[in-house]
Subunit: 307 residues, 2 copies
């Protein structure tokens, strides 16, 4: 398996792309970053990653401004905000040869299908990042909680290829699980993202601890989670209801945590409204799931993020 | 009936209290205003009322800073924000003789019961103000839309006393209806207030025309109205569902209208969260009505108005 992915491109060099790309590069994998605003800094100074227990710098980083300069790769890791999905063709097509695999680390629903539509379903894999990492400066990321990465093939069970990707990440120091059902993994992550990312914005820009300190808002978190689980169940992705208690228990010790959508919102950047709330809502409604709170949250977020 | 209410006190001299009090005073009724911050201005310059078609000034206005200086009256008109209901005993008790009637013009649910509990149910009447009036300066109000006033006895059908109050208002130029079911009138008004006052705040401080220009938000308005009507029905107050279309049609030509709660919110004043959302929600839940959107709206408003 050693040389299956001899050349890897990371598209989207925000916190997530820099972090995973740097981890892979440090472990000896040939990673090239597609970088926009921070290109000069990254070329000159490389990348710096702060982890809870260590800190490392990559002095020599392959970084390009255009996909054409990178050229065809064996694996393309997509770490763009979903709000940039309209640029898929421009950014990804030049990176593909006949057997290039694409791994999207993007949030929510819709990216897998869009990549499959544009480039072929057989190329697509997805990864769900349970991680807390922020960009602190150009070329610098701070990973507060490395968490883990759940990987799945798009519409297929675990494959040899997926195992090879998993091994790359594992060897680089990223805790990794493989799953037979990517869509199930996505819905399970939405159980957390729909309420916490959403309420943190519409309740006035508040962190998860403030949400959970307010009994009425915690009840709304739980009710939203139940709606997401109910919708997922109707769609064939069975998630047990005790996940609600688990996720609340897991969130409480996180303290004043800002969900990624809140960070985007407060920074005036585009929020992934369609992928985290719109598409799940539409799929839920299509199968007749009762999702009144998801509908209201989506309507409010649509309006609040209109700038 | 001429002398039933020889002496009237208006408690709460915001836009509503000044407007109705000034209309009554102009028609020759002996009205005394309980005034706090604007007392000096009102005593010196009186009250000025601008209506869509006319404008009038009351040069001599009876105004006092304390209820003790006013003393017992025949009718007490309560035009306080419900957020000041904790002051009922202090502000109202000194105005009462054995047969004093109390008319609350306050929004939402709970004030009738609280006045009844404190001073006796037999005293209490309520009025729903369908009006658009703002305080433009100390002692000055602008009435954009005089609308009408719906009056009812608390827990009793129309009485002689209520008719007398209605006549006072009618003779003063205020369009007035009497109703046999005050609680029904309150729920009918909530059909509008719950969605529009609420969404105007949680969707980011927007006017009613912006809400109705957004298809997803209009759908939420309709869904919230249906929840309020459903809850009212379970409580025994039958409101037909076509009220939804009527109220939307009535709201559309109002243009960039700021609901009163939004005005309070934007001005940093207390919002009547418990009376407009909390108490209706609790009563709906007590009879098992399905009100998920009302619950979420209440939770969000509770948090957003915490200062």
């Amino acid at each position: 398996m050693e040389n299956v992915f001899a050349k890897i491109a990371v598209v989207g060099s925000g916190a997530l792309g820099c972090y995973y790309g740097a981890m892979l590069a440090r472990s000896g994998v040939a990673v090239t970053f597609l970088v926009r605003s921070d290109l000069a800094v990254v070329r000159e100074r490389g990348l710096r990653v702060k982890l809870p227990t260590e800190e490392f710098a990559l002095r020599e980083v392959r970084a390009q401004a255009t996909p054409e300069e990178i050229g065809p790769c064996d694996l393309v890791i997509v770490a763009l905000k979903t709000t940039a999905n309209g640029d898929f063709r421009t950014l990804i097509a030049p990176l593909l040869h006949e057997r290039t695999a694409i791994l999207t680390l993007q949030n929510g629903l819709g990216s897998d299908e869009e990549l499959a539509r544009l480039f072929g379903a057989e190329r697509v894999m997805g990864g769900l990042c349970f991680i807390c990492v922020n960009r602190t400066a150009p070329g610098e990321v701070l990973c507060i909680e490395p968490g883990s990465l759940s990987l799945g093939e798009f519409g297929r069970p675990v494959s040899e290829r997926l195992r090879a990707v998993g091994e790359l990440f594992t060897r680089s120091g990223v805790r990794c699980q493989l799953g037979d059902d990517l869509a199930w993994l996505r819905w399970k992550k939405l159980v957390w993202n729909v309420p916490f990312n959403g309420l943190s914005i519409v309740a006035g820009g508040i962190t998860t601890d403030v949400i959970l300190a307010d009994a009425a808002l915690e009840a709304e978190v739980r009710a939203l989670m139940a709606e997401v689980i109910g919708a997922a169940g109707k769609l064939g992705y069975a998630i047990p209801m005790n996940v609600i208690d688990q996720q609340i228990a897991h969130t409480r010790p996180m303290g004043p945590y800002k969900p990624s959508s809140l960070i985007d919102y407060l920074a005036g950047r585009a929020v992934e409204v369609e992928e985290i709330w719109g598409e799940p809502l539409r799929r839920a409604q299509a199968v007749g799931a009762q999702v009144p709170r998801m509908a209201m949250l989506y309507a409010l977020l649509g309006r609040l993020t209109k700038r």
